[in-house]
Subunit: 371 residues, 2 copies
């Protein structure tokens, strides 16, 4: 690991003087967290150092870069998250916009499978997009969910994930559901001759997540879905390190970190860089134009961030979701390209021709991208 | 568990019609997450039901109550958090203001020790406030931190917690630090004859938190400190359930959920009710008047929430922190009262008379509250 790393912030302030005061607060708050004049006489090597304070392209807003000694986090990944945004999350007007490679290298490992690993599991050409859907609604029994899964597989879908709200409810206990859906998908695949991957939702209490991952694999799952902001962000890394099956990350409970223009994280940093570094093979994010609020430009930036060279990490599969239907696929292919896992949920259920038919239209459109 | 529970939201909208549309989105998004017209013909018992939409006392703002079937969460606590704020965290203009007792009862257990348990461990009268400080800065060696801890104990402090940024860094590895500080505090206590409790920070990767709790207890710690928004919120409950030592919760990384007036959680619900229900024996929150942004009224509401009758849960110890010094204690005692654990960090280090002297002034002021 490098001796130091650098974090870049966007800071709301009426003047460069005020912005510099905030920078001073940040470098103290995120390290020694005490008045500098009260530090031990022998000194401690832990304080951050302000590198620069420059105007941003937004009004009353400044870009602040601060360099930190690597010793402040040691090799503890969760402590690096704390250094990134722990106490300053309680200040208004501070947004993390970037961290340099030295922040990630050595502490973070990136995806174990990544977009190319997913394509390999699917025997899919390196230049073709992936399709994904969600099993729902919560309340159905295992055999009902399995029946839906079979129809999606017959339609040629690449990845079926559980809805993130399907956990271990009485209506479809985890073990029964995963066994039934895995079996149904194996049956459905035979109809097309193509592979369909099943990613059950394993989000549960932080200490149980690894056990549920192991259960899922035992029961025939091809990957897992997790909501890292509910289980603790490092749980994503812990699962990725197991390397048995790919891990898809879901943005539930993460909105507070990314939807405020002057607070939290720049969305492309948070989903595109941080979650990729944490090891998400695919990252579901709230797509533009649907019921969420990110702009098309931000979504494109998230996609780029997951594809860029970054500490030697594998690329993650950007998985836009929310308000996408089959008709929007051609436009999205033009806007986002092919290194994408397109997720259509609800609207596949609405097609009067049925799920298999709707899924087939969806997957054929993605093949058309090859033409 | 009751068959249904109710969640109350504050929703930003220009009209009651628009507020009702948002309510409709919430009841669907947080349950079946698909178009209602695409739900299975046999129906599913999972949809939320809008109970009421009424004007709030803020402009363009409405209070929405929605009732959910308990079956949507089952007995999975993390899934109940997902139902509370999972996908709607990605919508602007929605803030959780309350949830009824049926949401918590059966799923949440509350503190195992609570404020009265802390007082009991300290042999302290039921009507006296507690004092707390933070060991810092990161970068000191175990014997240097232990020396500080000894001085605080000699000054009569009730609880010494690690700074939340002290993890397992090379400068003070966890095991060495906890052993050294525990020993020093036992020595310091003998000077006053009063008990001082040591709460090392055990925040680390979600799957390791329980192990670190066990290590801390083995090494002589009297409690633990954890940042639940870094380890996954349910980890707080998992630790509380171990019942060996009290758990103090720290707000690092939680700011995004509580500092926005129109998004996230009402702070008194989040810290005062949710974290208490999760099992925090003491909850550190960002105090008014210091470097954070909550108002005095909000802090008082947080304090009240931790003391109110609530599902039979023990009371938590409200632990305001940030910008408190010895001189502010008399005013705070008037404003917050005695059912409080007052946390002074940095300013005790600044006293020219030294830590023991400053701590003694602090603790004597709290005794004065008895007069």
């Amino acid at each position: 690991m490098a001796d130091r790393f650098q974090i870049t912030y966007q800071v709301k302030a009426g003047s460069i003087t005020r912005a510099s005061e905030i920078a001073e607060n940040i470098r103290v708050e995120q390290t020694v967290e005490m008045p500098v004049d009260a530090l031990p006489a022998q000194g401690v090597p832990s304080l951050g150092e302000i590198v620069s304070v420059t105007p941003s392209d937004q009004s009353d807003s400044w870009i602040v870069s601060i360099s930190y000694p690597a010793a402040v986090t040691g090799d503890d990944l969760t402590q690096s998250l704390n250094t990134l945004f722990g106490n300053i999350s309680l200040y208004p007007g501070i947004r993390i916009v970037d961290a340099d490679d030295s922040f990630f290298s050595g502490r973070y490992k990136g995806p174990s499978f990544g977009l190319s690993g997913l394509r390999k599991l699917l025997n899919r050409d390196e230049d073709l997009p992936l399709s994904c859907t969600a099993l729902k609604p919560v309340g159905l029994a295992p055999d009902e969910l399995a029946d839906l899964a079979r129809q999606f597989a017959r339609g040629g879908i690449h990845i079926i994930k559980d809805d993130h709200g399907i956990a271990n409810q009485g209506s479809a206990p985890f073990r029964e559901r995963v066994a039934a859906c895995s079996k149904a998908i194996r049956e459905g695949e035979q109809f097309t001759g193509n592979k369909t991957l099943y990613f059950p939702n394993i989000t549960t209490s932080p200490s149980e997540v690894k056990n549920r991952y192991a259960e899922a694999v035992d029961l025939g799952a091809d990957g897992v879905l997790i909501c890292p902001q509910l289980t603790g962000l490092e749980s994503l890394s812990e699962l990725a390190a197991l390397k048995q099956v790919p891990v898809m990350a879901h943005p539930a409970f993460s909105g507070g970190y990314i939807i405020h223009e002057t607070h939290g994280f720049l969305p492309e940093f948070y989903y595109g860089k941080l979650w990729r570094a944490l090891g998400a093979d695919a990252v579901i994010y709230p797509n533009a134009g649907g019921r969420f609020t990110l702009s098309t430009e931000t979504c494109q930036a998230i996609n780029r961030q997951m594809a860029d060279h970054f500490c030697g990490f594998k690329k993650s599969a950007p998985t836009p979701a929310g308000g996408i239907d089959v008709d929007s696929i051609p436009g999205l292919l033009e806007s986002y390209g092919r290194d994408i896992c397109y997720l259509i949920g609800g609207s596949l259920y609405q097609d009067p021709g049925g799920i298999e038919h709707a899924t087939n239209k969806f997957t054929r459109l993605l093949e058309g991208a090859d033409g």
